[in-house]
Symmetry: C2
Subunit: 313 residues, 2 copies
DNA sequence: TTTTTTAATAGATTTTGACTATTATTGTGA
DNA sequence: TCACAATAATAGTCAAAATCTATTAAAAAA
């Protein structure tokens, strides 16, 4: 049994296809097939059932795959130990970011980070919180940036900053006269929401203390971008809520439509999340330090009330 | 990096000697040396400091060795998973037993076990509790039989039976007239003890609620076998305490000198102990079942009071 | 210093891992 | 149902590797 064989098994288990698994492992299909067979011979069991297509994993196979994941992950950590000892910060690092954070946060830290840690090859992927969690758990992401608390087993959360909700209230809106918004005043039926799947949407719904199921509302206009929501609000379709960082880029003449909340300001908690096994922890720490350092200057709110990003149904 | 390389590193780390490590790994010294070097080259660090003899392990090396232990242990468990799936109970199994249990318990279960599980190659080693713990922790023993509770981190305890203490009181002794012994009556100064290192000795001392440090007693006669203690008692050197199973083989005419304790009878708890990682758990379970089944018939005491086998200093 | 112990190096041999080319099998769509 | 596409297994070859024996180098012990 070799680590390579276990890696091949993992690739096949993941793609359910020897040819594709071989490609992803950068070897030819026969090479991978033979190594998997060799392991199966050595253990004298079948890991994969090839009698049907797509191939399936046998019962023992499932257990072996689970254990192989352990072993391969633990083996990768050897490299990590050495890097840490050398003080080396480098290599590929795949970071997932939720869409509502991506455009505002990424430009703030990206340049600083790649200058400070030139040997890290940072690969950024925009993904929903759900994908983020899945990919962190199965090792396809080294870390993610998402709204928290999520409280997922095996995932650690390290808060980066607290970002208040801001109201964008057009002049014709009933709340327009108010200087500051109060949670009590909100009515989810006249608030423009992001599309389903965005955790900021769920945050807003939680903030309004409304039932998550809005199917039976009189009208529904939902978009994937805050820009659209602001435009729709300008058209008199209702008000909307924005994360603080997104309000910084709004045109000066529309600025007056922005209204803060009364304290304690409802806010979302944005955290760096990563697998509790702490692979590549030095890079994760470096990333956290860079982002924290930058954000500390940009957002310094106290007296916030964290709104859960999780849909209640 | 291969599992083999990691195993070689572990062998060197354990023996602090490449030649010996190679022997234990059943390869030649250059083979092992080269593989270790190859790993060091790949990681671009030194695991071992060969500038002095005996060789020492570098700081990074320590961490790598620790991680390598993980990996190798996890890798071995793959074989385990397969065996479990096949319902196969076999292979080498190294069991350590404390000296005061060995001669009485081993004959009771050994034959039954090797007949029931002919594919298991049971290797029995007589060792003190301290060695048992050490060897279970570093993987040289698959399990041990010892007096408990020990409450050691990473070690699981599965009680097998409770074995009462019995008094062996010669006729000239002050306690000879009594039918049943009471803990209160005991005086550690006239009780013949096993040598230092035996946990039964510590149990007796705890039972007498005496300080563990007995250096300043007027006389000390200590032996490694209960036979000697009984002979000494017969010579009028004092009384002694025996585990119940050891009293079964005493000559009929000396039987009358044996005295039980009043209930709750002080007893030692004998357990199967093993690493919590549960390697070879199927064999461990099989062993536990065989021993429990046999002992259930031989020792059926209720109302016992467990005496700690641990010295208090 | 000489001897012994122990690790590294050199060179030969075997084993293994990977490749290309091809065959066998399953699944799908005409 | 048959042919074609997709996919895995097999065969044969080659290069890389792991291992071996023999020897050298270096450190520790006598």
């Amino acid at each position: 049994m070799t680590i390579t064989q276990l890696q091949y098994v993992l690739a096949v288990a993941e793609h359910r296809n020897f040819t594709l698994a071989a490609e992803k492992s950068f070897v030819t299909q026969p090479t991978l097939s033979m190594q998997v067979q060799k392991l199966e011979d050595e253990l004298d069991i079948l890991i994969f059932d090839r009698s049907k297509k797509p191939i399936s994993i046998t019962d023992v196979g499932q257990k072996i795959v689970a254990q192989a994941k352990n072993i391969v992950a633990e083996a990768e950590r050897i490299k990590d130990i050495v890097d840490q000892d050398k003080g080396f910060i480098g290599g590929d690092y795949v970071l997932g970011i939720i869409p509502t954070v991506m455009p505002t946060l990424l430009p703030m830290f990206l340049n600083t980070f790649i200058i400070k840690y030139p040997k890290v090859n940072l690969i950024i992927k925009e993904q929903s919180t759900q994908s983020l969690i899945k990919n962190i758990l199965d090792g396809h992401l080294d870390a993610g940036i998402a709204a928290t608390p999520l409280e997922i087993e095996f995932i650690k959360e390290r808060p980066l900053y607290y970002e208040p909700f801001m109201g964008y209230v057009p002049n014709n809106h009933r709340l327009a006269p108010k200087e500051e918004l109060d949670t009590e005043d909100l009515d989810v039926s006249d608030i423009l929401l992001l599309q389903d799947g965005h955790c900021f949407r769920d945050g807003v719904i939680n903030l309004c203390q409304a039932p998550a199921n809005l199917r039976d509302e009189k009208f529904q206009i939902e978009s994937g971008s805050f820009e659209t929501l602001v435009s729709l609000a300008d058209e008199g379709m209702g008000m909307t809520l924005l994360p603080y960082l997104n309000t910084l880029e709004i045109d000066t003449h529309k600025r007056e439509l922005l209204k803060p909340f009364v304290k304690p300001t409802p806010a979302r908690e944005i955290s760096l999340i990563y697998h509790k096994s702490e692979l590549k922890i030095q890079i994760t720490e470096a990333l956290k330090e860079v982002i924290s350092g930058i954000v500390r200057g940009a957002i310094a709110f106290q007296d916030v009330k964290i709104i859960s990003p999780i849909s209640k149904n």
